[in-house]
Symmetry: C2
Subunit: 349 residues, 2 copies
DNA sequence: ACGCTTCGTCGAAGCGTTTCGACAAAGTTA
DNA sequence: TAACTTTGTCGAAACGCTTCGACGAAGCGT
């Protein structure tokens, strides 16, 4: 393994000169630069990352903090990871996967103090997240994917849930739907203050009022079975519903199956729109799901770029970037049936 | 940020002593160890990873090589990554994601030469993979997830495709199926010599002969739409089929949908068994897929442990570990219909 | 009481870079 | 032409750790 000293000797210059052509920190004449470059090529020289890191106190590695618990990652999270990884590599950085949940502060503390990582990308952010306080205390640069309760002094990149709900509801309203169910995440995540669940809940209520239509909200587990149960319950509570908004890919497929088995046609009788959904899963369904496509990879890349920019400029200002999910109309949404129920519904009271 | 010198001063010992209590390389008396430990605690000392790496020429980081191309990772690959990450962390290692496909040798060359990583986990291995030659040439320890044509001198961990096919076919045969279609990966991957596709193809043929039953093999794209097309074609080529084996999760869902729309009941008329499938996707289907559950996380963990063991023992011997997929009977497989076709089929000739 | 090994500790020499101050040589200004 | 600035290069001091050789102090057999 050739070292910088070898290169220097071969090129007939000092090591510092070699370092300068490598880093571009000081001007070097065309002639010497060429000699040095040639020597490097001949020796197959590659700078030693550790030595570099030690001397410059930066590793060119960023850590991706994500809880690796239970059933593993969904397609959206995965896209996020790959997007971040790609973006990092394009900027000459590396990405380290750190299985660190909101709970393991010790783990994070030692990670951040080890000086192995230049900064952090934080996934699965809770509304109040101890990792955030900790990182701030340790003065480690970081960017959140998601948002905490109070975003002051933080940099975050997130999905624009409000906009996404608005767009989804608007789509259904445009199609003539006047009674819509919102199948949210689980009661547990709602109770624990999981951001996306809370935000979309509020946005859904607001959208209902704005459009002057009615709806129900039913929380559910993130599984196909959960979706089946939820749509049953929604139809009991609100038999007139013709539109369904689902916050979860897995539940969405269950809903489709349940509706089919109940003899209802999708989108003929009921329209289903899936929120924050990956294209792969949307295409898995039959018919393919009309969905708000989550910008997974784009989000990951955006977060990474924000972090790297902050590292370069030593910038710690507040920053927020929200990306909406794009409506992708596929096979599960269509015009609402004519409201022959209007009269009978009134008669019912 | 406290350094080792600070700790040494505070504990009234030399830096080397501190180092020894940290690494355990040499015996240290109970008394001094305690003093040093106390000093560390008081100063919130954390060893500097870079300095450590430089001095010891090991980083405690392993790289995970995976092509990050196109549609992103499937659930199985994702499980693999998380399994590997977890296993690494448990052993005090870190995991770096390296988007390096079989093509980017340059990228890999510099990665390996930089001395940033102690070893590599190689995913998506081709039957002849340039990364393998390169890593071997550079004398970087590595473990394959998958297998190359010739495994001599290599360490690899892989799914036992032969066993998995055997088990799946046996399951169908036990249920009385005598005509089975095998929906494999795409023609392109077959042509490029993608290991799993080739191996399962051969294993399927062998299983057919062994059981004395008939079957067809149809390659298909890895999408729901691909699955639909494939099952149509399979039924044209072989109208008597009652059992289907699918090599792809996404295609499996398409097959289910297509059969349903063709008026066939699953598992009443046709049984479907999905190979190398993640539980999440299997549960997404209605009815839930009978599947050979891929040991994603377990595989990832196994590969990591093998790599770490080789790092520790400087072992470079040939090694192969094959893990089968476990049959998980869910809702898409059942007894074959009585063969009233037997006579008419014979009459046909 | 003698030479032995073993134990516990220290000092110093790296590990391969970056970075700072210094300094000739060349270029610029007045 | 004197007095500066800029350009290009060098040497040496970090960076924070590991590891090697050395060595006094015990512990052991004889």
């Amino acid at each position: 393994m050739a070292t910088m000293t070898d290169v220097a000797r071969r090129a007939g210059v000092s090591v510092s000169t070699v370092s300068y052509v490598l880093t571009g920190t000081r001007p070097i004449s065309e002639a010497t630069r060429d000699r040095v470059l040639a020597a490097m090529a001949e020796l197959d020289y590659q700078p030693n990352a550790m030595a570099r890191g030690l001397a410059s106190r930066k590793s060119n590695i960023v850590g991706l903090l994500l809880p690796l618990t239970g059933r593993g990652l969904g397609a959206t999270e995965t896209a996020f990871v790959t997007g971040a990884t790609e973006a990092a590599r394009e900027a000459g950085y590396h990405l380290m996967l750190c299985p660190v949940g909101a709970a393991d502060s010790d783990e994070l503390q030692s990670l951040a103090t080890q000086r192995l990582l230049d900064g952090f990308l934080v996934m699965e952010v809770q509304l109040t997240d101890r990792r955030v306080e900790l990182l701030r205390k340790l003065e480690s640069p970081f960017v959140l994917i998601g948002r905490t309760e109070d975003g002051a002094g933080l940099a975050c990149v997130d999905i624009d849930f409000e906009q996404t709900v608005d767009d989804a509801v608007a789509h259904l309203v445009d199609l003539g739907h006047e009674t819509i169910a919102y199948i949210n995440h689980s009661p547990a995540s709602l109770a624990s203050g999981y951001g996306p669940a809370k935000r979309t809940e509020a946005a859904f209520q607001a959208a209902l009022e704005r459009h002057g239509i009615t709806g129900v909200m039913v929380p559910t587990e993130d599984t196909a079975a959960g979706g089946r149960a939820a749509i049953q319950r929604a139809r009991e509570e609100c038999p007139a519903l013709t539109g369904v908004l689902v916050m979860n890919e897995n539940a969405a497929l269950g809903i489709l199956a349940e509706l089919r088995e109940a003899g209802l046609d999708v989108p003929g009788d009921v329209s289903v729109v899936s929120m924050v959904t990956s294209e792969v899963v949307a295409d898995l369904a039959s018919p393919a799901l009309t969905a708000m496509t989550s910008p997974g990879a784009v989000l990951g890349a955006a977060a990474t770029r924000v972090l790297l920019k902050r590292l370069a400029e030593d910038d710690g200002s507040t920053y927020e970037e929200l990306l909406p999910c794009a409506l992708e109309v596929r096979g599960t949404s269509g015009r609402a049936k004519k409201r022959k129920t209007a009269r009978s519904a009134r008669a019912k009271r």
